[in-house]
């Protein structure tokens, strides 16, 4: 498992284009939204939570096409499945490396973007916290879509349509958690709901990911 994570990290380190565009997209999305909405500070502050969450979702979803695809094309996934190693470990290693490579940079930049949009420092940290709490659910649903589409060369739009319904509850509770975090405690209803969604996404997502990868590996006639 460590070896798998280390391998993904090395690949990401060697190839900046695997994770840097996602980060740039995140900032660009915010900037373009501000230009579209107009620079009035009060409106921007009200919309900041929703905008940040939207930018985050899209920058994760647009990753879908290369999360499993390269491993699938080079035969790496097939070797893992043939080697008799635990598939659970493989999926968890993948989730951890997605978190480290794709989500950590976004988590670091969220308070800065929040600051630019006129949020108080505490509200910016609340945003980061809400994303951090929701991270497992986000990652497992995105990975599930990536696994289903891992043989598809062009999967951008279908990935959005496929994964967004599953992300809607996370979006709803994530935005609500970020907004409530400055008024109520850490143990608010929204945080608890997100934790529950995490559990569901893991128990449903991991078998679904393995089954989808298997279906994509097997040379069906």
């Amino acid at each position: 498992m460590d070896a798998l994570i280390a391998r993904d990290l090395r690949l990401a380190g060697a190839d900046l284009s695997s994770w840097l565009p996602g980060l740039l997209f995140f900032v660009f999305f915010i900037m373009v939204s501000v230009i579209a909405i107009g620079p009035e500070a009060r409106i921007l502050r009200d919309m900041a939570g929703g905008l940040i969450w939207l930018a985050l979702l899209f920058s994760l979803i647009l990753k879908v096409s290369d999360l499993f695809q390269r491993d699938m094309m080079t035969g790496m996934t097939e070797q893992i499945f043939l080697s008799g190693q635990s598939k659970l470990q493989f999926v968890i290693a993948k989730a951890v490396s997605v978190f480290l490579i794709h989500l950590i940079p976004l988590l670091i930049i969220i308070p800065i973007v929040g600051f630019v949009l006129g949020l108080e420092a505490q509200q910016g940290w609340a945003m980061t916290l809400s994303v951090l709490v929701a991270a497992p659910a986000l990652i497992f649903y995105v990975l599930m879509t990536a696994a289903i589409l891992s043989r598809q060369r062009t999967g951008g739009f279908i990935a959005v349509i496929m994964v967004l319904p599953f992300l809607i509850p996370i979006l709803i509770f994530g935005v609500a958690a970020a907004e409530s975090a400055d008024s109520s405690s850490l143990y608010s209803v929204e945080i608890k709901a997100l934790l529950g969604l995490n559990l569901i996404s893991m128990s449903v997502g991991i078998p679904a990911i393995v089954a989808a990868l298997k279906a994509n590996i097997h040379q069906v006639t």
Partner: protein, 247 residues
């Protein structure tokens, strides 16, 4: 019964009788009876007036789309566990009918919304969750049209349908929670217990008509799918050539 129908040839034989019976006899009679009950024999609503009759086409469409997803889930589990070809055809047929019902529910709801709410579209809980439901059907059908070959599409579509069936209640409740945060409920729950039987009777009759329409359309779609597969298999069979030499 199920075992007998699981054979495609037996299924084709069964549907040759079942399709006209369900389509012509059950569907048309229940539709005629339902329309008569709902348009003529039922009273107009005290506050909504004649407009309430839209309910008789709107509510059964919403129920029908949920019924279609239940059937889709069962067919997907069957397909995933036993890899049965007919279950895939069935799941796909259910999804096609389901997405049409979901669209009908949205469209009639919008038409109903104009006179009662004063707006064509309202982002209330049930409208929004029905829209999400529509997109889940769309994603399911997109897999079928995108992924080749057929067996792989069947596996992946079944996985998505099963994960969706677990998530749909969560999505529905979270959307309702979301809309209750942003606005008060605008419409009391129609179809709640305590609905007078003059309104309930035409509603149930129309629901029965929609259910038989669902059965009829699904049978037709499954038949078309089985036939298309057969045709493809026949055309892909290598042409054998035999030359006989006369000595």
């Amino acid at each position: 019964m199920i075992n007998y129908l699981a054979n495609p040839s037996n299924f084709l034989r069964f549907q040759r009788i079942a399709t006209p019976v369900i389509g012509l006899v059950i569907f048309l009679t229940s539709l005629a009876l339902g329309l008569w009950l709902s348009l003529y024999a039922s009273p107009a609503d005290e506050t909504q007036g004649e407009v309430v009759r839209i309910m008789y086409v709107h509510v059964p469409a919403a129920w029908g789309s949920m019924m279609a997803y239940t059937a889709l889930t069962i067919a997907s589990i069957t397909s995933f566990v036993w890899r049965h070809r007919l279950a895939d055809s069935a799941a796909r047929a259910f999804a096609k009918v389901g997405i049409v019902f979901a669209f009908l529910a949205l469209a009639t709801g919008s038409i109903w919304g104009k006179p009662t709410w004063g707006t064509w579209w309202q982002w209330d809980g049930r409208t929004t969750s029905m829209l999400v439901f529509f997109f889940i059907y769309a994603a399911y059908l997109l897999i079928w049209s995108m992924v080749k070959p057929w067996n792989r599409a069947a596996r992946l579509a079944a996985i998505l349908a099963m994960v969706g069936s677990i998530n749909i209640p969560i999505i529905k409740f979270s959307v309702e929670w979301w809309s209750s945060l942003h606005q008060p409920a605008t419409l009391s729950y129609i179809g709640a217990p305590g609905m007078p039987s003059e309104l309930l009777r035409p509603l149930l009759m129309m629901a029965w008509a929609y259910a038989s329409l669902f059965a009829w359309a699904s049978l037709m779609f499954i038949k078309a799918d089985v036939m298309a597969l057969r045709a493809r298999r026949q055309s892909s069979r290598p042409i054998s050539s035999v030359t006989i030499k006369k000595l």
